[in-house]
């Protein structure tokens, strides 16, 4: 994190060269906020506690930057999972000020609060501190068969590839942006109480493959989702779409998927 506001050596713009004195006059724009991090190890602790750290931030500082500063300089034991730092890997989902968000994709300045509280995501089993287990989500994801199902293959086909028009791709491309971060499942009101529900992540992916015109596994998938804790557990509260950091809009995919079961789509 840049605390002073000055560019690192070697990064000055040409016009600034030789005017170091002028640069030093620029006031740092850092503000300070309190970062509250939930600490809880189910193996050792009885109840979660919150660690508080004063953290200075700039306009561009993300919540993940702040957590890592606290981890690096204050408490190495803070458990946090992250990888790409650019909303690509889906590792750093957590509750930030009560709502599920990606820590790397949430700027502190956007939160408009002097206190930022980070907790593990709801509706997932806790491993430690901010880290939750994704096993159930991944197994549900596998259950809906997230791959193209068809008898022939691109290798055996005479054309060597299955051509699609841009219109064919538009039908599902939105839903293929899913990074499996689990924010949608965390926000879903049905998931809050029903742990056997497939969830918005799995259902949106079921639509992604059914809407793909290369796929022939529609009937198989519809059978999987048309059960007691399947697609009908969605009541279109829309919370999943509201928190999705990639614009997947799972609520839309689920409603479109229902069209197949109600006979509006073929």
């Amino acid at each position: 994190m840049t605390k002073g506001g000055a560019l690192p050596k070697g990064f000055e713009s040409p016009s600034d060269l030789g005017s170091q004195e002028k640069y030093e006059e620029v006031k740092p724009s850092s503000k300070t906020m309190t970062l509250r991090i939930s600490k809880f190890n189910p193996d050792k602790d009885h109840a979660p506690t919150f660690l508080e750290f004063p953290v200075s931030y700039e306009k561009w500082t993300t919540v993940l930057d702040a957590i890592l500063e606290a981890k690096n300089y204050h408490d190495h034991s803070i458990g946090v999972r992250y990888s790409c730092r650019q909303a690509m890997c889906g590792s750093c989902g957590m509750n930030i000020n009560g709502k599920p968000r990606l820590a790397c994709f949430t700027k502190i300045s956007e939160l408009d609060s002097d206190v930022v509280t980070v907790e593990p995501m709801n509706n997932f089993p806790l491993i430690r501190d901010l880290v939750v287990g994704f096993e159930r989500m991944f197994s549900t994801h596998k259950r809906i068969k997230p791959y193209i199902i068809r008898e022939d293959s691109e290798i055996s086909s005479g054309t060597k590839e299955f051509l699609q028009t841009p219109e064919d791709v538009e039908k599902y491309i939105q839903f293929s942006s899913c990074i499996k971060c689990g924010l949608c499942n965390s926000a879903c009101p049905t998931m809050a109480a029903d742990s056997t529900f497939i969830g918005p992540q799995g259902l949106a992916q079921a639509y992604r493959y059914i809407a793909d015109n290369r796929d022939q596994g529609k009937d198989e998938r519809l059978k999987i989702i048309d059960e007691r804790h399947g697609i009908w557990g969605c009541h279109f509260a829309g919370s999943c779409s509201q928190v999705c950091p990639k614009g997947v809009d799972p609520a839309m995919g689920i409603q479109l998927l229902r069209g197949y079961l109600l006979g509006y789509r073929k």
Binding site: F40, P42, D43, G98, K99, P120, M121, N122, N123, F124, P125, L126, I127, V132, G133, E170, K171, Y172, I173, Q174, F175, S177, A187, P189, T190, A192, A193, S195, A211, H235, F236, A237, G238, S239, S241, Q242, V243, C244, P245, K246, G247, V248, D249, A251, M252, G253, Q255, L256, L257, R258, G259, L262, Y264, R265
Partner: protein, 142 residues
Amino acid sequence: MEKDRKEGIRGMANPGRYGIERVAYWLMRITGLGLLFYFIGHIYETSSLLDGKAAWNSMLELTQTTEGHIFLTLVIGMCVFHTGNGIRLMIAQSGFGFGKPRRPDYPYTPSSLNMKNKLCIYVSIGLAALAMMYGLGVMYDV
């Protein structure tokens, strides 16, 4: 060992945090349960007809109180909201009313939470309020 972070009924019943669509979800549940409760009561209430005029009139007296009128007004509101929002949900859940999927562009405004849907929710709430006022007018012969 992992600790389950399930929000439970509290998470399901909390209408805050996620905008008007989540409020509509919560209201739909509450009004549905309320209407079922009223319906069972209404069937029991009308069965007093079989015990003659005196039994019917004494049952009717229960609803002729201020509390009874308030309850009936709430039932009218619940009925109108549940119907209006229910029709919105039926249309949306059949896959209509939010356009076609498209390539997502930042800042990723979800089209399933579009203004048409929000407007339908507000109209359902507005109609419920109007119906409640009309119902009060009828009950108090205004």
